[in-house]
Symmetry: C2
Subunit: 375 residues, 2 copies
């Protein structure tokens, strides 16, 4: 696996019982996954020679993130090393412009969008064109954004200058008046076997995933099934191998629009570690190794995942003790990261039959660990 | 953790989400746990200098097995390094003579027993003493036995020569006419918090654990509670820190006798990985680190664990594919070991509401992986 973040850490954890020998290419020896994996190569994934040398001893290559240049992936494939997901799929998770064009061609519902060239063009997109939806407009650099970075919401032409300063293409999208965000997560293997997890609700705070509720409360079975079908269609059409997260906007009339794609284990699937028969991490590995996929069904009526963000206090130990003592059924997942304000340093999950209670338990633990509450 | 076997492998796996930095002292770099842990020291735990050097960088020492000499553990404690479980507790898992004497003094029911000096003394134990229970008699070397090794069942004085050849003390025990074997597993922390897992039935084949059923079918709640209480009493009285497995004989009248003790995660507790809210491995770590313990309750009405033994075919890959495809809810736990006939190379767990079905699924997978069945 290329990339030493928490996704690689948790993928290794899931691979241990499967008997998988896990090799890691990590930026530093201190990275989250590098702390817990035996076979770590420290190096820069942007350097093709490093990547090639790393890949030579692997049966298959997969990723903790989407930042490996597509041309490097093509070089690995030319060397005869399976890359999963492959570059032809992965480009849709790397480039929002490519993704929007492809999904639109497939008839997948997306927010109204087009590549814009300057602030005046943003105004034209917002106000002048047929079907124009007005301001505010969402502007995104087509590459490199995550967790709210590389995304701007602007109310006028005057506010639209900033995104163009980096000199990379900018995508304009209507700001969808969504009622909530959902995620439809699926896993697909090279021979086309696929499984769909229950559709979840994802609660974002400041552009960062805060809480995930599985399954999405009140989502009618027909809509859930449609969202799953949409994710399976995208996985099939784009040739995704491994875990695909399809982030969705739900609108007032119950329809859904695709927001983002991620082709790797994803924050909206962390609940599966404790809440599903087979976790997203185990199924991602099973897919990239072309093993039969595991059962994606939930183990409890409700599972809630809450991210633990760093707060003002670098030492979480006292909060950790408190949370374990207060709730013996709490499941904590710490990433081994230094605490910095706002940084994702772990997550907790809770599960049970009473959603309000399950949610309160997760919320309390995450807030207590962050230091937002002290009782 | 001292010892690189599968128990260390699975303990590391359980420690990753807890954010624990796991260091391993392993006999070889190929040992089961050494394949998956970042921080591995290869060395001989019987060498005090090696052990001391390893321990110097640890906050607490715990064990994959019970073979570290007690005098070494005392030396570590004298160096100021917490050893959990400590030598005063661990000696009861190392020496069956010490264990029997202590449990008897505590009034814990045990099979009739005493240390014997030669075959004639075995006959005296079997036939001449007050309360003699006759042949067959079980003979055990007081140290070093496991999985049926170091244990003999003899029918006469003439058959009793073998156990004395090694020149180590031999314990004679009545052969208890048990109806089945149970295990009561508990975890205790340094400040005395303790949790008790449901009592399980352990089915042995040829002296090796074959299948574990959680909870033990048909065990009345009163007997289950008594067995849990007995295990908690032993943990408390012996000052155990960490996981304690109390292997029990159940007799026709429903009473239980203690067979063996193990002070570490134990085969009879593997079901907890998928069947309990908190696994034995996570709770062992929580105990030795003096963290609050996790909920030991079951997640499903029935969980069955079946050991996967090596068969005649060194390559299990085809069987592995078959089992994953046949039963998407099967949980496999492979140890990364070379396959040798009769060697424990992994286990599987299944859970659900219908015991017969849950048991058949586990049995099928274990037998198929071993190569005993091919359909």
């Amino acid at each position: 696996m290329v990339g030493g973040g928490q996704l690689a850490r948790m993928t290794h954890e899931a691979g241990i019982p499967l008997g998988i020998r896990f090799r890691l290419l990590s930026d530093t020896p201190q990275d989250s996954a590098a702390q817990v994996v035996q076979d770590v190569r420290v190096g820069d994934y942007r350097d093709l020679a490093t990547l090639r040398d790393f890949a030579r001893r692997c049966d298959v290559i997969t990723f903790d993130h989407e930042h490996v240049p597509v041309e490097h992936l093509r070089a690995l494939e030319a060397d005869g090393i399976p890359v999963r997901p492959g570059p032809d799929a992965l480009v849709h998770a790397q480039d929002k412009g490519v993704m929007r064009a492809r999904l639109t061609a497939l008839g997948i519902p997306c927010p109204r969008h087009r590549i814009v060239s300057d602030p005046a063009d943003v105004r034209a997109f917002a106000e002048d064109e047929p079907g124009a939806t007005g301001f505010p407009v969402v502007l995104k650099t087509v590459r490199g954004g995550y967790d709210g970075k590389g995304v701007w919401v602007v109310d006028s032409e005057a506010e639209a200058a900033e995104p163009f300063r980096a000199g990379v293409p900018v995508l304009a999208e209507e700001k969808v008046p969504f009622t909530r965000e959902l995620a439809a997560n699926v896993v697909r293997s090279p021979h086309g076997q696929a499984v769909a997890y229950p559709v979840v609700e994802s609660v974002q705070v400041g552009g960062v995933c805060d809480t995930v509720i599985a399954p999405a409360p009140g989502l009618d079975p027909e809509s859930a099934s449609q969202a799953q079908h949409l994710a399976l269609t995208i996985a099939h059409e784009l040739g995704v191998v491994g875990h695909l997260a399809v982030e969705l906007f739900e609108t007032a009339d119950g329809s859904v629009l695709v927001n983002e794609l991620a082709m790797r284990p994803h924050n909206s699937g962390h609940w599966t570690q404790d809440g599903a028969v087979t976790s997203q991490f185990a199924n991602h590995l099973r897919a990239v190794l072309d093993l039969p996929l595991g059962d994606p069904r939930p183990r409890a009526p409700w599972t809630v995942m809450a991210n633990v963000l760093g707060g003002d206090f670098p030492d979480m130990y006292q909060g950790y003790l408190h949370c374990l003592a207060r709730d013996p059924a709490l499941r904590v997942h710490m990433y081994g990261k230094d605490v910095k304000p706002g940084r994702k340093v772990g997550h907790v999950t809770t599960y049970g039959t009473d959603l309000a209670q399950v949610r309160e338990r997760a919320r309390h633990a995450a807030d207590y660990l962050r230091g937002t509450i002290t009782e």
